[in-house]
Symmetry: C2
């Protein structure tokens, strides 16, 4: 069966080999630490002494993670952004990426737009595309990113301690709201659409939080699930104040109507960072927010008792409905 697809023998007559050369051989940054890039059996990469390698892999599937007809340039951006967000959450500096792209057909204009979106974000973060695999099949995109972090300096999920304050960057629930509106066939503002389709990986913030944050994660599955991972890995619990969640005007307005805290707590795709900071280091966060021009907000604190407690304005506890909170339940 493999033989059938080797040649990518579409009407255009271009081989996999041609497609890679045309669309991917010059994507991203050039880096002196790439001894061999695209074009051999493997890439050969140089990790500087005293550094550890951070590696993460993410897949986006058409019809599950994105609409098949969505803008390919945005998709190229997002497929790299979600992986860079994982590096950010470790405090690792992005270095190299590999791309496994499965496509139903060899559509050159699609490939051109996809590689442009991917390449621009790669250049912004100094990432070299060092290898990949192009196969025929249902549209699926897997990106592995690799980053560098000084030995023992990475910020893990497991370091949260009672008394630490819990912080989040940006605003929560925007991508989830965009998705709900699109699913319902309603119009979506440019702001919300960009939050869904062009997420900004918080790379600089993640780097700056080394030595400050005790634990960190990126928000891909929603705050409740992802903070739940920190709590489980650290063996602690947390109390967060729902009125303190940072919300865009669009999400605030929606909440005023339906009071569904599931939107900021449990919808995914925000790609903001959630991190824990000991109280005596919290003064540094304000400086950081100003320097990076990013909104950073404290939403609660870590406590010894397990589980995530969400307080409403009146001090009552808000209990999330069971369905859709699997991660959270598993971690709590």
């Amino acid at each position: 069966m493999k033989t059938d697809m080797n040649s990518w023998s579409g009407a255009d007559g271009l081989s996999e080999f041609d497609l890679i050369r045309n669309h991917f051989s010059h994507v991203g940054s050039r880096r002196a630490d790439v001894a061999v890039g695209i074009g051999d059996d493997c890439a050969l990469l140089k990790v500087p002494q005293g550094y550890e390698l951070a590696a993460g892999i993410d897949t986006l599937v058409a019809g599950i993670h994105f609409f098949p007809a969505c803008d390919p340039e945005g998709l190229g951006h997002k497929s790299l952004a979600v992986s860079l967000s994982d590096l950010a959450a470790m405090g690792a500096e992005p270095a190299w990426a590999t791309l496994a792209l499965t496509l139903p057909d060899a559509d050159e204009s699609w490939l051109n737009a996809f590689s442009r979106g991917f390449g621009r974000l790669a250049e912004r973060h100094g990432v070299a595309l060092v290898g990949g695999d192009l196969t025929r099949g249902p549209l699926t995109i897997t990106v592995q990113v690799q980053g560098l972090v000084p030995a023992a300096a990475a910020v893990l999920r497991s370091g949260a301690r009672p008394g630490d304050l819990v912080w989040v960057s940006g605003t929560l629930g925007d991508a989830g709201l965009a998705l709900r509106l699109l699913d319902a066939g309603e119009s979506v503002s440019e702001f919300l659409r960009r939050r869904l389709e062009r997420p900004t990986p918080r790379v600089e913030l993640g780097l700056a939080l080394r030595g400050i944050a005790t634990a960190m994660i990126d928000l891909s599955d929603g705050l409740a699930a992802d903070l739940g991972h920190i709590l489980a890995a650290s063996g602690v619990g947390a109390e967060i104040r729902l009125p303190d969640l940072p919300l865009s005007p669009a999400v605030s307005e929606r909440l005023a109507v339906d009071a569904d805290w599931g939107l900021p707590l449990a919808s995914g795709d925000d790609y903001e960072l959630c991190f824990c900071v000991p109280e005596h280091k919290c003064a540094q966060i304000a400086t950081l927010a100003k320097r990076l021009g990013i909104r950073l907000r404290t939403i609660g604190h870590i406590r010894p008792e397990g589980g995530l407690h969400c307080l409403l304005e009146n001090g009552a506890t808000w209990n999330p409905p069971r369905a859709g909170y699997d991660h959270f339940a598993a971690a709590g």
Copy 2:
């Protein structure tokens, strides 16, 4: 849309989190150079000083690279084997793998068998599974492997020089014949089936050829295409003698009937190594073959004039039909 799949809310009620813990958290070898494995945003890995990192990524798609109903244990084996084969072709020692698995449903017995096949091969080669992503969608498997190679010791595609002899390991065309028989609904011997479904990555051979081979590639797309990559990267040509191709009895018999050299030359999935060796080092190859218990055969030589020339027994040139030789044409 992402939100829909977070919970993997199948009838079994298991989350992605549960599935990874149940089936993948203990797969492969434990390695001291894994600072953080599965369970954080990224894995954290230690590359020893003086080594380069070799990284390769490969995707297998149901219906393209394998039959959707094929044995999942074999598929677990093969999905890692094809990536290990890339490391072998660089002379790199396997170290770590990440696995991006897209599945139509959370079938626990399938996952169990898949992870067993993947895990056994990983253990045999000392590979730790350090991360992954489990998503819902059409069955697609992407594996990234990473290996270690002393700085500047990797064997590239670009080092072949006129006068070098061209060698291949094992036998050619077995997987291709198995596929043809299966496609035609005919019976397949256990030998041929294993060659297709359980390929043996030539890791030890690749390591042993450092310092001996001038150029190397693994045979995933067929000898003509893959040797073509060496020729293009090295700026040389080659002459090979078709009667010298190493063939199993099954492929020999088939050739005796239809004289279709496309079977050993252009069918993929053999995962043998093709490599070039200067004449004065060829005596070492016999020793190597004996030590490793692998059949190694010289099939021709490198020459300055570009292109791949295939000689028949009577000295005439065999010209492959154009269709299905895209890679080869691009490289020639």
